[in-house]
Each structure stands twice: as structure tokens, then as C-alpha cells.
């Protein structure tokens, strides 16, 4: 007896959501270029420049070259073996770049950091991450895929509570403001701490705001339980408030 093919099988096949692309076709080349270019740009600006300069250790150069090799190999393999290609192009490339930075020593120290190039490199790394994602290609209809399971469209179970977008907007504005404040820190030794703190605070702020904005619409706990649940944090905040007032009076 033969078994019907499993539509959800996750063996190495062309990406779901992408049409089959002929080898050597312009679309294939475009896809490979999309995979390589952002990573190559990030590699050039943040790995090659410090590592290939004067005083850069040979081992770091080898690791940097390995990173580019893995990126190119991943892009070439992407159409046939997407899972392996992603392992090479994302994890292998980032790991080799990290190794190059670790081996480079003082060549990538904060004192030698060039802010504009570092910012451009950050954009390159972000684009690299996006480029390895899988988006629906122009003209491709997912339902036309032979592996698609036919069913009625899923309807949203509800709408967002009132004020959700406003709260999220305030949180995003606050997060952007925090990052901007971190860039104003002039002291070299404190700037890195400021950026780390601002990034953590921004992520926490947006995460909690999104949670508060969305969960407000769900079935809420009893007011008494909500107050009791926050009692510990509110008590600590009260104590910190008193300590802050006393401290400012004593100064």
C-alpha cells in the first residue's frame, strides 16, 4: 500500500510560499543577490575594515574570509537545500564574523570605533537578517501551491481594545527617545552602558506596552486580585520613592 504524501512534511524542499525557480533564471540570480548583498555590505563595513587594517591578526583575516565563504555558499545552496543554506548563511556567517572580531583584539576596540561606519554596519546586519527571511514573491499565490490545504479563511476573533494603538505609539516614541538620549552620552566609558541600558529599557517598554494594550481587552481578573498582584511592586516603588525624597533632601 502506498502512503499519500504528507503536505506538512519538512524535508528539504523548495521554500513554501515561493514559486519553483528555474536554475540560472534571472529570478534565481536576483534571489541570490538579495541574500548576498546586505551581508556582504555588513561584512565589508564591520568585519573587513577593522580586521584587514594594519595590525590585524592573520587568524582574524582567515575567520573573516571564512565568513564570506559561508555566506556565498549559503546563497548558492538556498534554492535546493534551504535549511542547510540558512545554517551556513546566517549562523555560519555570523559565527565566523564574531570569531574574526574576537581574534582581532584591539582592532575592534571601542576607542577605534568610527560611529558613522558602525551605524551603517548595523543597518547592513539588520538588512542581512531580513534578506534571509521568506516573503511572498510578487505574483505568487500561496493557495496555488500543491501543498496548500484548502479551507475557509480564518476570521479574527476580536478587535483590539480602544487606546491600544495610542499606548503602543507612546511606548515606541519613548523607546526611540531613550535611544536618542543614549547617543547624547559623551563619556566613552559610560556610552556603552547607556546604549545597553537604553536598548534593554526600550525592548522592555515596547513589550510591556504591547501586552498591556492587547490583554486589556481580554477577560480581566477581579480588581482585588489585580491590586494584590501588584502590591509587592507598588510597595517597593513606595519605599524607593521615600528613599529618593530623603536622599534629595540630605544632599
Amino acid at each position: 500500500m502506498t502512503r499519500a504524501p504528507d503536505p506538512l512534511a519538512t524535508t528539504e524542499r523548495p521554500e513554501a510560499g515561493s514559486p519553483a525557480v528555474e536554475p540560472g533564471s534571472p529570478r534565481r540570480w536576483l534571489r541570490s543577490a538579495t541574500l548576498v548583498l546586505p551581508g556582504a555590505y555588513a561584512w565589508l563595513t564591520t568585519v573587513v575594515v577593522p580586521v584587514a587594517g594594519r595590525g590585524g591578526p592573520g587568524a582574524a583575516r582567515v575567520a573573516a574570509g571564512l565568513g564570506l565563504g559561508l555566506l556565498l555558499l549559503g546563497a548558492v545552496m538556498f534554492a535546493r537545500r534551504p535549511r542547510v543554506a540558512r545554517a551556513l548563511g546566517i549562523h555560519g556567517f555570523a559565527g565566523a564574523s564574531l570569531l574574526a572580531w574576537l581574534l582581532a583584539g584591539d582592532a575592534v576596540s571601542v576607542a577605534r570605533l568610527e560611529p558613522v561606519r558602525a551605524a551603517l554596519g548595523t543597518v547592513g546586519w539588520a538588512l542581512h537578517a531580513f534578506s534571509w527571511g521568506n516573503v511572498r514573491e510578487l505574483g505568487w499565490i500561496p493557495e496555488a501551491d500543491e501543498r496548500a490545504i484548502g479551507a475557509a479563511p480564518l476570521q479574527p476573533r476580536g478587535s483590539l481594545p480602544r487606546g491600544a494603538y495610542a499606548l503602543l505609539g507612546v511606548a515606541v516614541a519613548g523607546a526611540v527617545g531613550l535611544v536618542a538620549l543614549a547617543w547624547r552620552v559623551g563619556r566613552e566609558e559610560a556610552a556603552l552602558l547607556a546604549h545597553a541600558a537604553a536598548t534593554l529599557a526600550s525592548v522592555g517598554l515596547v513589550t510591556v506596552a504591547a501586552r498591556v494594550a492587547v490583554e486589556r481587552g481580554r477577560e480581566a481578573a477581579e480588581p482585588r486580585a489585580r491590586l494584590t498582584g501588584a502590591a509587592q511592586e507598588l510597595a517597593l516603588l513606595g519605599a524607593l520613592g521615600v528613599a529618593g525624597v530623603v536622599w534629595s533632601l540630605l544632599r
Binding site: 519613548g174 527617545g177 538620549l181 501586552r211 486589556r216 516603588l237
Partner: protein
């Protein structure tokens, strides 16, 4: 009462943003102790915002 607590939760998120901003500004002004103070306050306010909305343990 529930709506008031919702509003408190909203306000706490705004308060956390303000506390974090004061902390980041304090780092720039070399007031390290004040920076630490405001960052801790910000973290606690954020946690209070979550707990006010949905307390731990899911008690009803």
C-alpha cells in the same frame, strides 16, 4: 474599578518611559547613582503595570 485599574496600568507604562528617560539623562550628566535609581524604578514600574493588568497566578 476595573477601568480605573486599566487606566493605572496605562499610566504606569508612561511612568516607566519617563523613569527610563530620567535614568538615561542621568547617565549623560555623570550622576551614576541617580541613573541606577531611575532605571530600577523604571523596571519596577513596568512590572507593576503588568501585574496590575494580569496578576501572577491568574487569580480571578
Amino acid at each position: 474599578m476595573g477601568r480605573l485599574l486599566d487606566a493605572v496600568s496605562f499610566a504606569l507604562v508612561g511612568g516607566a518611559a519617563l523613569a527610563f528617560a530620567l535614568g538615561a539623562a542621568a547617565i549623560g550628566e555623570q550622576r551614576d547613582l541617580a541613573a541606577l535609581y531611575w532605571l530600577v524604578v523604571g523596571g519596577l514600574v513596568l512590572r507593576a503595570a503588568v501585574q496590575t493588568l494580569r496578576p501572577r497566578g491568574g487569580a480571578r
